[in-house]
Amino acid sequence: MQCMANEGRHSQMLRGVLDICLLAVLDAGPAYGYEMTKRLRERGLASVGEGSIYPLLGRLERDGLVETYRAASNGGPQRKYYRPSSTGRLALAVGVSEWRAARDAIDAVLAPVKIEVVS
């Protein structure tokens, strides 16, 4: 039960910042869907929770935050590559700033809490 509650919180927190995370990994260079998943895993985000990145990529594309083009992947088939647009880079900068402010505020609230594990 407790584990399920934690998973729910994890998903909820991710839902609010996953778009920023995708823009962040795309800022390192254009990527196709699965390549973005690999970059997220390499940076420590192994699971994207309840959703998946595809609908979110669709929204970023619709909102003009990413640009797309088709090209052959390494020896593989043609893939759809994504890269941040200028608007997307601006959204990334704003998003990172907001995240850091929220993280600092929450850290300040949680800092006095002492966690003791009783075995």
Binding site: T37, S52, P55
Partner: protein, 176 residues
């Protein structure tokens, strides 16, 4: 191609996503799933809980991309409006016809329930129209004009009720 991708393709077709876009998304998704499986990553790890519901996943992806056509809903609404206009027109015409027939004072014509022969005075009164004797007769009990008038009034009332509901603003549905 995996069953998951096939189900996504079916859902996109049902939603009216353009074929070229559905084909593109299906091909990209299939390539990603193949590459992930080659790396030892299951479809559940790749897509999270969406892996258990391909239709919801496909609908969500297409909706977020903004490629689910909304014109089908508008077309249905336009067809409904035309049907309602036609219904109101027929009801109003029936009301006018019934009122004119009642106002002219012509002999009343009613539907026959038995094959009775019309009386001689009926045939004499209508020189230009002689109805078949097995179908009609003079009737004071249920003149068709009154029936038509009642039906027209009921139909117009129903039509007015439909129009009052039609003009109410609709609450837009939240995106999936």
């Amino acid at each position: 191609m995996s069953d998951f991708v096939e189900q996504c393709r079916t859902e996109w077709k049902r939603l009216g996503v353009p074929d070229s876009m559905a084909e593109e998304m299906a091909a990209d998704l299939a390539s990603d799933i193949r590459e992930a499986e080659a790396d030892g990553i299951s479809i559940e790890e790749l897509l999270g809980s969406s892996a258990s519901d391909p239709r919801a996943f496909a609908a969500s992806w297409a909706t977020e991309r903004g490629i689910v056509p909304v014109r089908s809903g508008r077309a249905n609404r336009r067809r409904g409006r035309l049907a309602l206009i036609a219904f109101t027109g027929v009801a109003a015409t029936a009301l006018i016809v019934a009122a004119l027939l009642l106002a002219t004072g012509e002999p009343k014509v009613g539907l026959v329930t038995s094959g009775a022969t019309p009386p001689p005075h009926f045939l004499g009164a209508t020189a230009s129209f002689v109805p078949p004797p097995s179908r009609v007769q003079s009737s004071a009990a249920a003149p068709i004009e009154w029936i038509l008038l009642c039906l027209a009034i009921v139909a117009l009332g129903f039509s007015a009720w439909l129009w009052s509901r039609w003009d109410r603003p609709r609450v837009p549905m939240a995106p999936a």
